[in-house]
Amino acid sequence: MQLKALTLTNFKNYESQTLEFSTKVNGLVGKNGTGKTNLLDAIYYLCMCKSYFGMPDSAIARHEQDFFRSEGHFYKEEEEFKVVAKVRLRKKKELECNDVPYSKLSEHIGLLPVVVIAPDDTRLATEGSEHRRRFANEILSQLDREYLKHLIHYNKVLAQRNAALKKMAAEGRHDDALLEVYETQLLPGAIYIYEKRQQLMQDFLPIFTKTYAAISEEREVVTCAYKSALHNKSMEQLFAESRTKDKFLQRTTTGIHRDDLVFSVNEKPVRRFASQGQLKSFILALKLAQFELFRQEKGSSPILLLDDIFDKLDESRVEQLIQLLSKDTFGQVFITDAHKHRLAELLAQANLDHKMFLVDDGKVEILD
């Protein structure tokens, strides 16, 4: 999968910009805050219909503009996919592929597989479980369209059940029949998502441990385990047992929205016991394993977006990563860096086919 051309209108600080990319490595250099990451986000947006960095559409539209547009010309072997995202604020988001609009955005996810490695990925290990669920969801929704449909449905019903619990508490009148209705509606999605997450971790773990071994100099044992209340009890049972607690706390306290991934190094939690170096390798290995899993499942390399990797990774890991990129398993890569020359030198050293772009406040020029 390759992105040959990108045209942005009112996307963050880009008023109007067209870029033609190398099908191998694209280096985006420039001072911080000039819009390098915005270019990566514009590419991610075309693949996933949303910002990687959790930016709402209203914040993506350029200052005082009420719409933005991103158009990408992607190629899978010889086949072209022209993907256009048109967003008018306060209107329904529109996405087209080869001039045909999607009736549901979820139908697009997975067509253009993408993997992002960004500085705040360390949150995956250091912060709350929502980051790890998001990681699993991001993988599964690109591999399985049914998964995403179930997840969207589950989240909508869950929000209604939580709102119902709050309303009932406020009115002092509990309606168990309605709670049961919501539980029944949650059930098929919960079961589907649980089974897919379990399957994912089985496929993912061997790739992950192999990747970690390849990038780490030490010999520690790493694992990544799926934690879910559904391991021991059925969803029906869990809902029934939690209902009293749910009413008291006014939210749904059990379900696949409480799942987690448990990361460990030498059988100890990464969060508390891993060294800074181990943590960095762990996170990088998670992302590279995601890449490898996509490559195996999709039969072609996903687009890889590397944001500011020099910022959080030390030099030896960056060099290792660049070395990895020269293997033929990698396809098209986009890398941002604040230093104008560092990246170009590394890419030249590794003998990687590349194109460099200088980004300066919403304007991009090609560097020779």
Binding site: H153, K156, V157, A159, Q160, R161, A163, A164, K166, K167, M168, E171, R173, D175, A177, L178, E180, V181, Y182, T184, Q185
Partner: protein, 201 residues
Amino acid sequence: MNFSSKLIEDSVNAFASLPGIGKKTALRLTLHLLSMPPEISEGLCEPVLKMRKEIQFCATCNNISDTVVCSICSNTARDQSVICVVESIRDIMAIENTNQYRGLFHVLGGVISPIEGVGPGDLNIESLMDRVKAGTSKEIIMAISPTIDGDTTIFYLSKQLEAFDVKVTTLARGISFGGELEYADELTLGRSIAARRLYEE
């Protein structure tokens, strides 16, 4: 827009408060009325005022009505054993336009959506149960849009109806009615009523 007259401005704002009418159209309508004799304006406002003051909601089904009980409920030629449950009055109009349905209606006034502040107690569910308790109903048709909240509502109602000897049916789903009954064309809506089937969870 700048008006030299406060009266004109008020009229424009009144029109513009209606759905689908912008300031420009509102001004055009206002100036049009101004160019016509005063009776035209009276003829426009009087029926609206009268409608708003005198309209009633049917004591049985909550349909709009000029009398305590609406013309559908009081029509003895209609099949009294079937009640078609709809979200809004507009759905009744859509279904009536198909000429395919000869039973009665019940307007819920929305679907269950706690996020929007709508729980079962905020809908006309109790009055539906009262009608079913009276014992003349044999079939309840759920003509509710196939959204998540629509599903919740159908499922909730079907559970409440389990205690009674009535058949619960839904519109045929294979036939798309575009998400909302209101937008369905008469032919497909008529077909999906005719092809309704027993509700299963």
